[in-house]
Amino acid sequence: MRLPEAEIAAVVKQISGSDVKKCMKCGKCSATCPAYGEMRFHPHQFVTMVARGRVDELLKDETVARCLSCFACVERCPRGVEPANVVAAIRVIAEREQGGSNFVPDEVPGLIEADGEIPQQALVSAFRRYRK
């Protein structure tokens, strides 16, 4: 049984540790985001939508994986909201919910074949970030 949307939003708030109510809607997170163009929803939208309990659309969006976890939004947010943590929480919940992964070990040999220089760090990160 899937939880109601509002309750999932509450889980997002809880596991992200982010106080989304502190947001004053200045948009600095989105102004600073290097992955802005790659993502359908932008950091400030994540914060606002989670605050409003509207997480379903966010959970469906695959471009959430494009967040670089560069923490620039966390660093520069004047309100200490930590938008990247909200994005991360959405991604984790989406992966847990769907049971699937955006990245499977089967992909690795192909990637390495294509580019032998890929460092372990990238693979491990991708596993951690993209898998359940």
């Binding site: 540790g17 620039a72 966390v74 991360a88 460092p119 760090q121 596993f127 951690r128």
Partner: protein, 284 residues
């Protein structure tokens, strides 16, 4: 001074240069790096969500190992430094994480964040001293215009990392200066290279890297240095080739007059893809 040293998996495989030259230089500077026994991969990314404990445990083990030796824990890879520092901060400040982690690991003496995690650069600045380092330089890199590329993980979030001013950092510039070269300050040095997203979207990384390299070049940089294997990968892969990219330790090795550094790809960095996966502990 002896440090417990945490190389991390990438430094054992793809980034052997970062590790090898780092150890050589430390020895030359009279700093002892003792690799901790049976370390495990730190996980490469810090698990931001609060309900993850298991993914923090290998970092806690490493921190605890250093604590048991009574030493500070030295890191070289930006990602490892990031993960270890943040997990340590959790252990220090978050009673919930602390209780759970100790519960899992059941150490003889519970761990509460006592270890100090030190990056190689901080060791050079605070333990060796950049002034002493400058005197140890046998082969000053005169005339070379070098840009520091910090990336994200060393600097942010600054409240936890406490590495340097997150928006106008100077530690690598001071390092470059100590080696006799001219540091080039450019605004993009703390912007993301694309990180692991490169596996999903090369385009995104290419765009980021090219913006960084353009900005560095516009400010007069002729080469870049970094402490992160993933940054190195992205910068080399998506750079235009005209910009030489090196690890901080390679530059240091050269300046200390310990020998010349081999060209990228031909040096110690070699390994099979299988090594990469196994070494990274992905089988678990």
């Amino acid at each position: 001074m002896t440090y417990s040293y945490y190389p991390g998996c990438t430094l054992k495989t793809k980034a052997k240069d970062l590790d090898f030259y780092g150890r050589e230089c430390a020895r030359a500077l009279g700093v002892e790096l003792e690799e901790i026994e049976e370390w495990q991969c730190c996980g490469a990314v810090y698990p931001v969500v609060r309900d993850e404990i298991a993914t923090k445990l290998s970092a806690v083990r490493a921190l605890m190992a250093a604590r048991d030796e009574g030493r500070e824990l030295l890191t070289l890879c930006s990602a490892c430094h990031h993960v270890l520092t943040r997990v340590n901060h959790d252990m220090l400040t978050d009673p919930d994480v602390r209780a759970k982690a100790n519960n899992y690991l059941k150490p003889q003496v519970p761990y509460a964040g006592e270890t100090k995690v030190v990056h190689y650069l901080q060791m050079l600045r605070d333990e060796v001293g950049f002034d002493v380092l400058a005197k140890a330089v046998k082969n000053p890199l005169k005339g070379r215009k070098i840009g520091a590329y910090y990336g994200c993980l060393l600097l942010r979030p600054s409240k936890v990392m406490a590495f340097d001013d997150p928006e106008d950092p100077r530690i690598i510039e001071d390092f470059i200066k100590a080696l006799g070269a001219t540091p080039v300050v450019y605004a993009m040095r703390n912007e993301c290279c694309g990180g692991y997203v490169t596996l999903k979207s090369e385009e995104q990384s290419r765009e980021n890297v090219q913006r960084i390299i353009k900005n560095a070049r516009n400010h007069g940089a002729e080469e870049l240095i970094t402490a992160c294997p993933l940054c190195m990968y992205n910068l080399r892969k998506f750079g235009d080739g005209g910009m030489r990219i090196e690890y901080i330790t390679e530059l240091l090795y050269e300046a200390l007059g310990l020998g010349s550094v081999q060209e990228p790809g031909t040096g110690a960095d070699a390994g099979t893809p299988a090594d990469a996966v196994c070494g990274a502990g992905l089988k678990s």
